[in-house]
């Protein structure tokens, strides 16, 4: 009851302000230099309701300092109308919202791309292409600069239905090695697969932690899926995106990495290493505490994990493990001599926000979305409020000491004030660099100097028929692939003996049909 009334009241206010907004529209083009007034979208305050679902806080707080600053600058005021506030699951929240039918003006949060692209063509969300072209010069500028993102964002009908969160910065995960162990054994950093093998054997046999026991675990991983990434050392692939087991693009053709020769060779060797005890025997069940436990117990040698958080152990473990030096290293060269880092930060998140069919002020809303892509809006969404959380030093935003020295990590502080949350905005990597440790920064520089990155598969939007084919075959194919994968690594199956049967099974389960729809969708989406 109360909710309905509020909405009706909200709409009333909105309708009144539409007229004045229309008059204002001509004068509000983004012109840097003027005071805050140039960001104003509406003369009279306008309220828009918003569903905003993300893992750390299911909802959009009206007293975020960032929201209040944005309200002051633009005149637009977001009111929280989040469905499913008590579930941490984004699918569930989105489905609750859609099932209740009565959509708020703005729908946003994490992982909205798929539902928005699926229900947009059914009429639930407004297509944004024309609105952006006419009213959102700053978003348009980003899309013009990165046309591949526009392709990747689009739904199968060619329309854009959401304004995304665009991450900045390139590297995500990296290889790390215990430099102090290498030094203790008089070894060089491994540069090829063969080197790596020798180092692992030495870690296993020569007691680098010096406790007199052979308890070292040469390769350890927090996510067992990272182990599959080792197939890149044999020119295989484990995924094409930042989602595990995903498709990848090879010379303009969508393929699945788990049905290629490089993968076969890679898994064969990983199985051999596993059998020889070079890989954590408990890699499949150790779980996310593996890194914390194995590093602090001085047991783990090499891993593949995120730059910033992994490098952070150099500080936190200095006392517990004397001489601890966990250094980022370049990925070893593969057997054919190529050196790649398969993981990278995705340039496009499936997060952001969209305009629902129920929104009566689409023009004001798209202008509001555009605000976050202006210089001021981007700073606000990355660094918080000027004077409070950051200062401008030579025109560059710098976090205040209070923020940098607080007990909480900077990113969690930002989430609490409403910055860095998955609205449609453009991340500024400078924000993260300011609180990245030196060890990680050195590693990132090392990776930047070498050309390690490969193109990512940013996903396709399937139309109804293609989706039906995908839904029908894909889950059982993936289940089968993963079952065989683990069996081979654990040694309960032999990949060389099973391979032909495996490929025949994939075919029987419809892999070629799935690849066909993936490729037709890919051509439609990226060729035009």
């Amino acid at each position: 009851m109360t909710r309905k009334n509020t909405t009706r009241f909200g709409r009333e206010t909105m309708r009144k302000s539409t007229l004045s907004a229309a008059f204002l529209a001509t004068t509000m083009l983004a012109q840097p230099g003027f005071a805050d007034e140039h960001l104003r979208i509406v003369e009279e305050p306008l309220e828009l309701t918003v569903h905003f679902h993300w893992p750390r806080n299911q909802g959009y707080e009206e007293d975020y300092p960032v929201e209040q600053a944005a309200r002051e600058m633009t005149g637009i005021h977001l009111k929280d109308a989040t469905a499913g506030r008590n579930t941490p699951d984004h699918n569930e929240a989105m489905n609750l919202l859609l099932a209740q039918g009565d959509l708020p003006d703005i729908v946003g949060g994490n992982r909205i791309k798929d539902p928005v692209n699926q229900y947009g063509p059914e009429g639930a969300f407004l297509p944004l292409g024309d609105l952006i072209a006419e009213h959102a010069p700053n978003i348009q500028a980003v899309l013009d600069a990165k046309p591949e993102l526009r392709d990747a964002m689009a739904s199968w009908d060619g329309n854009i239905y959401y304004v995304p969160y665009l991450p900045d910065g390139e590297f995500g995960r990296a290889w790390f090695v215990r430099q102090d162990w290498l030094d203790a054994l008089g070894l060089e950093r491994p540069d090829t697969v063969e080197d790596l093998y020798q180092v692992l054997v030495a870690f296993r046999d020569q007691d680098p932690n010096g406790n007199g026991e052979q308890d070292e675990i040469p390769i350890f991983l927090r996510h067992w899926e990272e182990l599959i990434r080792f197939v890149t050392l044999w020119d295989g692939r484990s995924t094409g995106s930042d989602t595990y087991h995903d498709f990848y693009v090879d010379n303009g053709e969508v393929k699945h990495p788990y049905a290629t020769e490089g993968y076969r060779e890679g898994i064969k060797n990983i199985a051999k290493w596993y059998e020889e005890g070079l890989i954590d025997p408990e890699v499949f069940t150790r779980g996310t505490s593996a890194r914390e436990y194995l590093l602090s117990e001085n047991l783990g040698g090499i891993t593949h994990d995120w730059f910033a958080s992994t490098a952070g152990y150099n500080e936190s473990l200095q006392e517990k493990v004397p001489g601890f030096d966990f250094a980022p290293m370049l990925p070893p060269e593969s057997i054919s001599g190529t050196r790649i880092e398969e993981h990278r930060r995705t340039p496009l998140k499936p997060d952001g926000w969209a305009i629902s069919y129920a929104n009566e002020n689409p023009v004001e809303t798209i202008k509001y979305f555009d605000f976050w892509f202006t210089e001021e809006g981007r700073r606000l969404s990355n660094f918080g409020v000027e004077g409070e959380h950051y200062e401008l030093v030579d025109g560059e935003p710098v976090f205040t000491d209070a923020v940098l020295t607080a007990d909480q990590p900077v990113n969690s502080q930002m989430w609490e004030i409403g910055a860095g949350i998955p609205r449609g905005y453009y991340m500024d990597y400078a924000y993260e660099l300011q609180w990245t440790s030196d060890a990680a920064r050195e590693g990132i520089e090392l990776y930047e100097q070498n050309d390690l990155l490969i193109d990512q598969f940013l996903g396709v939007s399937l139309n109804e028929e293609e989706q039906a084919v995908y839904d029908r075959y894909w889950p059982s194919i993936q289940t089968y692939m993963l079952e065989r994968q683990q069996a081979w690594i654990l040694g309960t199956g032999d990949i060389e003996a099973d391979w032909d049967e495996y490929m025949a099974q994939l075919d029987k389960r419809g892999l070629s049909d799935v690849l066909e729809v993936m490729n037709s969708a890919y051509e439609r989406q990226y060729d035009s």
Binding site: P281, E282, Y480
Partner: protein, 330 residues
Amino acid sequence: MSQQEHIGPSTEELVVEAREALRDRTRRRAARLGDHFKREWQIYVLLLPTILWFALFLYKPMYGLQIAFKDYSIFRGIDGSPWIGFEHFRTLFENDQFLRAIRNTVIISFFTLLFGFPAPIILALMFNEILNQTYKRAAQTIVYLPHFISTVIIAGIVITAFSPSAGIVNTVLEWLGMDPVYFLTKPEWFRPIFIGSGIWQEAGFQSIVYLAAIAGVNPSLYESAVVDGASRWQMVWKVTLPSILPTIIIMLIIRIGNLLEVGFELIILLYQPATYETADVINTFIYRQGLQQGQYDLAAAAGLFNAVVAFVLVMTANTISKRVSRTSLW
């Protein structure tokens, strides 16, 4: 016809009499029913919330079951989605992984029942034989405890206990001179571990029902058994067990009704692709296909199938029990 006419008069009289008697009885019964409601209305008011709860949370959602026969889109809604008949069921039964999930569900359920059902009864009988009250209470509390631990923690305990490097199970194996086993990736070990941990978690708590039943056994039965020179073993076998048999049978029928509701949260936390072969049950299959992939219609079809099988099972169990032991749910 003619014969009936021949003895007509008396029959007619009888019929009229019977009709009047019937009318009378109905009238009286209606009056009695009215009186009954007038007298006992408080009881019906007390019953109302339960009826409402059933109607709202168990009968109303049945309306949504129709999506098992529809091409469901959450935005179009249940009514707006087109009918597609048995398409989802066809998809399911063409999928060897679904058939495997049915097989695993049946096997796991069967063995859970076989080993898990007698466990709390045996436990209750054993508690009953403990004479030291302090020891008895302590022991009971300890076996109840796992019931109150969240499934996530139970899974953590199981994973740690069976870990090849630090787990107690492998430590014992090594003492005995055997090689450590990575149990949780071995398909042949999944079912014993899953069923065993289920029994460890629930047997204690389930034994409460039987303890209560045992407490209700008439002490004079034991006294006369003692007079007759029965041993303790004979008393358990000839007095306690037959006395609590109705409780056992009712519990058994309830268990059979829930037979296919394998505790899939624990399975999701414990299984690996490597153990899908023996661990993947209908509910985990639904979880992967339906919820993770958003195919609610297909998942609803699988769930409906599960419910139909469970219904048949409980009907059968009840009928057999009615014939054999004269104890039944209805």
